[in-house]
Amino acid sequence: MSFKKYSAVIAAALILIAGAGTQEVFSQVHGYEEYKVKAAFLYNFTKFIEWPADSFENADTPLTLCISGGNPFGDALDSLKDKTVGGRRLSIRIVSRPEATEGCHIVFSSDPDGKNLPAILNSLKNRRVLLVGEMTGFAEAGGIINFFIVDDKVRFEINVEAARRRGLGISSQLLKLARIVKEKN
């Protein structure tokens, strides 16, 4: 029966291709690295978010972006190093423990299984922090902005209520582009 012959051919082809696959050579041909794009989004968000004046010590206090729960960006954050936001320097901090968020204006949580979220929420109390994540249900669970990917493109959802609670203003221009989600209490 010809099925056996097919199987042999398929198996051979799979082995050949798997062999080629180990070369792990990647370049940015079809698109951009996901985290370079997400880094650019994070930078862009700062233009549409208004922090209350009291969230900065003085006019020279930098805007601090904290990366919590592992750093998936690698060197993708380098592109943000010399940026300024509304006259403030952008400062980037990698935080090793989820609860160490003192002084952060933005907390990005890369946390696929959501285990760190309660600790982060707990440590933030009601501080004026833009909490950004990339996990299903993140915004509904109290995060403010959550990335998701549709058709290889980055999209984001916003929990408006969570932003309001933290005293952050979000421009309608940004809301227009987002999927709005409601909180689950």
Partner: protein, 666 residues
């Protein structure tokens, strides 16, 4: 049963093809490409950037070199869509024909009256829904999934046999079901509408903390339909003056289950629909409400997906399907039973890999055993079996697709699939060049070929007085050339221009044999069609969005150069949605124009415009959503051409109708 195994020519073909693709990889150079500075882009621009990452191997359709439309669950709510057929009506180059029994989809000027939906492949979560007896993809109330459970629908136009095999002739419609969220638990929905139509749904949907996702849902619908339908063809005292009473009923119920956990998905579905036939099709007794069809469809599959390292992914799937058709046809008060039973099972595997930096390769194989493809026709009084045809068959297919980024702006996409049905064989390629000379501009040039094998009904159906079988039927083939121009217009708008030309050869077509006056299917006609689709869509600001499209499709029967039946030359669609008064109150307006269509008797149906309006109210109270819809607002009277099985040359469609729907999320 008794099919001869075809020689394994396919295996011999497969090796050089594989070698060719591997050779392509060897020719790749690792250029460094300079990319634009992302941080200088606006959010809108960033949202249009394609990304890749370790988990970016979506299944099959994503980077399909085709003209693709996406419909989301939001669209379904905002436009008050009740069925898949409602959804398809709003799409460019699609039109629907309803004979008050089933709904049929026409695409790009082809929608031959009396044919089943065998030339469009309809998938649910990648699973083929077309049955193995009639090949029919359901789209009306007979579609086995509640549209409320849809997350999105990908409509891929053009021949898709290079990936999907038979039936992917004009388009592939992949319906993707909802994902469970961590924040929701239960959802209940009820609606009531015109023609005494009531529907209810209860769903349990949740993702547990350990990552187990559950979607379990049940739906039930009951519609009386038009209680009095007038058909002038039967306007005679002996046939109730042409009025069919209480014969248009439409009832369905169904269940859906999806369980997912760490790479495994178990999905199952069962649905049954009962539809009264008010039209006296197949010369049955007029105004006898016992004339009806019952269609039951079920499947279960288990899928496993796994990431292998950073740049490859493997998927395996096992499935089991059933289809049961039970038609009751009354002749002189005597019940006749027309039955179709299909069962099939099989497996498929798909391996996706980026073996070298510029290639994305997919290699797949499918095997399916059609364990039952039976048809039966019984005259109940006295009980005589006119037809008792039992069949089974198998198919085996292998396919390969490579997406090769030749330069930064040019992608070459090549796919080839070989299908072996033991009785039939077919090899179908698709080649596409995708060129993006600058940001916001994409040109695609596509050549594709697709086939459809004759189904069991066309091959074997036989009934002494009306129809005979033809076991010599072979597959029909379509060859399509297509040029697509996708252009962003400013930040908010996109335009698509799509010019296509297709030729169908050996079309499986029903004829009346002059020698014995019996209907028989033959590989006879050729069809040639030129067409253009134009669509502009985008954001109109303030959360309003919309699209407008026009399709010109000029189909010709190749020899006579005449226009085929049910082939409108012009289609136009308009869709608009915007908040009214409040952001939680959203209006969805649509209008669809269909030009006149030829009928089988050589007449023409009138051109018409149908408009629908839905108002959706959200967060009226916590978790409460309310919507009101008016379909065919202006009560436009219009007709669809009907098939050979009708005395009527065309069949009147529904006038103005309303629906009120309440959904509550617990």
């Amino acid at each position: 049963m008794g099919y001869k195994s075809a020689p394994p020519k396919s295996a011999r073909l497969f090796i050089p093809v594989t070698a060719f693709f591997l050779l392509l990889h060897a020719l790749v150079f690792g250029d460094n490409i300079v990319l634009a500075d992302l941080t200088e882009m606006s959010i809108e621009e960033l949202m249009n950037v394609t990304v890749y990452g370790a988990s970016k191997f979506e299944q099959k359709t994503t980077e399909a070199p085709s003209s693709v439309s996406i419909i989301t669950s939001e669209d379904i709510k905002k436009y008050g869509y009740r069925t898949l057929s409602d959804i398809l009506k709003s799409q460019r180059s699609f039109y629907i024909t309803y004979d008050r029994n089933y709904s049929y989809v026409g695409v790009r000027g082809f929608g031959r009256s009396g044919d089943y939906n065998g030339r469009v492949l309809i998938l649910i979560d990648g699973h083929r829904t077309n049955d193995n007896v009639y090949d029919q993809g359901f789209i009306g109330t007979e579609f086995p999934l509640d549209v409320d459970l849809i997350e999105k629908i990908e409509i891929v136009r053009g021949p898709g046999s290079a990936l999907y095999g038979s039936n992917a002739f004009f388009a592939v419609i992949n319906v993707i079901t909802r994902k469970a969220g961590t924040t929701e638990w239960m959802e209940a929905s009820v609606d009531a509408g015109a023609l005494e139509t009531y529907k209810g749904r209860l769903s349990f949907v949740h993702e547990f903390n350990d990552g187990t996702g559950v979607l379990l849902s049940g739906s039930i619908m009951d519609s009386e339909g038009r209680s009095r339908l007038f058909f002038s063809e039967f306007d005679d005292p002996s046939t109730n003056d042409g009025i069919a009473e209480n014969a248009d009923y439409d009832r369905n119920h169904g269940f859906f289950l999806k369980l997912s956990r760490s790479g495994f998905t178990l999905e199952g579905l069962y649905a049954s629909r009962e539809k009264g036939i008010p039209t006296a099709s197949f010369e049955t007794d007029f105004n006898d409400s016992r004339n009806m069809t019952v269609d039951e469809r079920g499947y279960a599959y288990l899928r496993y997906e796994r990431q292998l390292g950073d740049n490859s992914q493997i998927m395996g799937r096992l499935f089991y399907d059933v289809y049961d058709y039970d038609g009751t046809y009354m002749y002189g008060g005597v019940t006749n039973k027309d039955l179709g039973k299909g069962t099939w099972w099989g497996g498929e595997t798909l391996y996706s890999v980026r073996p070298l930096d510029k290639h994305k390769l997919s290699l797949g194989a499918e095997y399916q055993v059609n364990s039952k493809q039976d048809q039966k026709y019984d005259d109940q009084d006295p009980l005589t079996a006119d037809l008792d045809d039992r069949r089974d068959s198998r198919r085996l297919a292998v396919y390969l697709q490579d997406e090769f980024a030749v330069t930064e702006s040019l992608i070459f996409n090549a796919g080839l699939r070989h299908d072996n049905y033991y009785r039939f064989e077919s090899t179908n390629p698709r080649l596409a060049l995708i060129y993006s000379p600058f940001d916001g501009t994409v040109f695609k040039a596509i050549y594709g070929q697709a086939f459809r094998i004759p189904n069991s009904y066309e091959l074997y159906y036989e009934e002494a007085t009306t129809q005979k079988s033809n076991e010599d039927l072979g597959p029909e083939t379509i060859r399509t050339h297509e040029i697509i121009w996708e252009q962003s217009l400013g930040k908010n708008f996109n335009m698509t221009v799509d010019a296509f030309h297709y030729t169908i050869s050996d079309l499986i077509h029903q004829h009346s044999d002059p020698e014995d006056d019996l209907l028989v299917f033959m590989n006879s006609n050729d069809i040639e069609t030129d067409g253009v689709e134009l669509e502009i869509g985008g954001n109109l600001g303030d959360r309003a969005e919309g699209r407008v499209s026009y399709t010109y499709q000029n189909a010709k029967e190749a020899e006579e150069r005449t226009r085929p039946v049910n082939s409108p030359r012009h289609l136009a669609k308009l869709n608009l949605t915007a908040p009214v008064l409040d952001e939680n109150l959203i209006a969805g307006l649509e209008a669809q124009y269909t030009s006149k269509r030829e009928t089988l008797a050589g007449d023409q149906t009138d051109a018409f415009i149908v408009s629908n309006l839905t108002i959706l109210g959200r967060n009226l109270a916590r978790g409460l959503e309310l919507s009101g819809s008016i379909y065919n607002i202006f009560d436009k009277r219009y007709h669809d051409p009907s098939g050979d099985e009708y005395v009527q040359d065309f069949i009147e469609q529904d006038g103005r109708a309303f629906r009120l729907k309440i959904t509550y999320v617990f």
